[in-house]
Amino acid sequence: MRDVAIISTGMTPFGELWQSGLRDLFVQAAREALMAVGSPSVDAIYVGNMSGGQFVGQEHLGPLMADHLGLAGVPATRVESACASGGVALRCGFLDVAAGASDLVLVAGVEKMNDGADVTNVLASAADQETEVYHGITFPGLYAMIARAHMARYGTTEEDLAAVSVKNHRHGARNPKAQFRSEVTAEQVMTSSMVAEPLRLLHCSPVSDGAAVVLLCPLERAREFTDAPIRIRSSGLATAPMALADRADPTFLDAVSLAAGRAYKSGGVTPSDIQVAEVHDCFSIAELCVLEALCFTERGSAGELTRAGETALGGRIPINTSGGLKSKGHPVGATGVAQAIEIVEQLRGEAGERQVPDATIGLAQNMGGSGASSVVHIFERV
């Protein structure tokens, strides 16, 4: 397999972007990424998108996006793994370049959630429709059940959960593309309206529109395009039982653990080598469970780690310097690519107020549904 590099990035702001449709968002992010490296010709496009069909009545996003980018003809494929769609698109692009099938690949993640659809129902289609959704559980409800199990088993507290939201808002306040650029206090989190007990509104990522794009090419060609290529050192993908009831331990995210294990192994790194990470904090409890599944901390100890400030900027392992899904926003199909962009900016030393000093190895972890799929990428400055 060939080594693969990210040579350019582009991203819309995340938020309620009423003026932009799905195709507009994609084109805006893609043009930014292309123009930054002199608009080279593209060999293939992968579009990560969870549910264009249900959100805006539009499937077949590969050709639609190629067309609107002025690139009709170019191979273009949409990939979906619920909220991990963006990360999985990145993996498909990575394999395409690694295989030697394509040289320059454009990987996009895009979602238009604020366009009139019933968002609660659409997001629930990432869970098992027959055994879960039918009975009345919602997507926040599934993570609420994970939270309650984690609390019962490890003594994790509402304060621990709130600390995740507080930290991520603090980070996001420094990110010009974030949906919410305001800090919140633990008290605000813990008194916000209840969504699914014990999760409140400020434990939940918002409903967002947005697109994110990265350009990939073989590492050996990367310096034709940029002085600061970022190598994708490895990619790991895994699944777990679809329904929460079918997982032996609802507090442990097997898919994350497996995907990370594959990425660590094929990248030849250990968790302690990671200096900065973007993880899938769709709900505050998710960040805690993910930190444990990534082996950044012992099982059950992520709440304590967070309250101790170790996952904040300046801490031992800064997590979600972008603001995470919570503060940056979560246009579901775009998130995985946006995570990669934050790591690229960190490894290039271009993260401004959010910069982790001297970061050379970073990780991005993206997750679908209540954890039935997860994809992990490890990046390094070269």
Partner: protein
Amino acid sequence: MPSPRYWREIPSRYRLEAAACRGCKRVIYPKRQVCPQCGGVEFEATRLAHRGRVVTSTVVHVAPTDLQMEAPYAMAVVETEEGVRLMVQVADCDPSEVLPGMEVTLEFRLIRKEDHGGILCYGHKAVPVE
């Protein structure tokens, strides 16, 4: 008129029909073609006991459209005596009392009225044991 999707699930939802793997003895609900534990494909038909214990739970405040009139309501993952876990609503109690460890029975109930046609959809809900 109930859709095929609905009536295909009737055996599991109405009668709690399950399958016991001949290989590893695990009970699978709803039944499947392949045992997720051992990969076995031979099963004996069985029905779940109507009794179990809450593994984890939540109270849904922001509900899906079809269930908005019922919110807030409690949902739980219940483990039956056979070691099977299933997602159910918990009825006939104060939702805030539904916590891990609670003992419940499974009772046949109306689950939801679907869509504009108001199709009545049935299944099981959990009810706390006195």
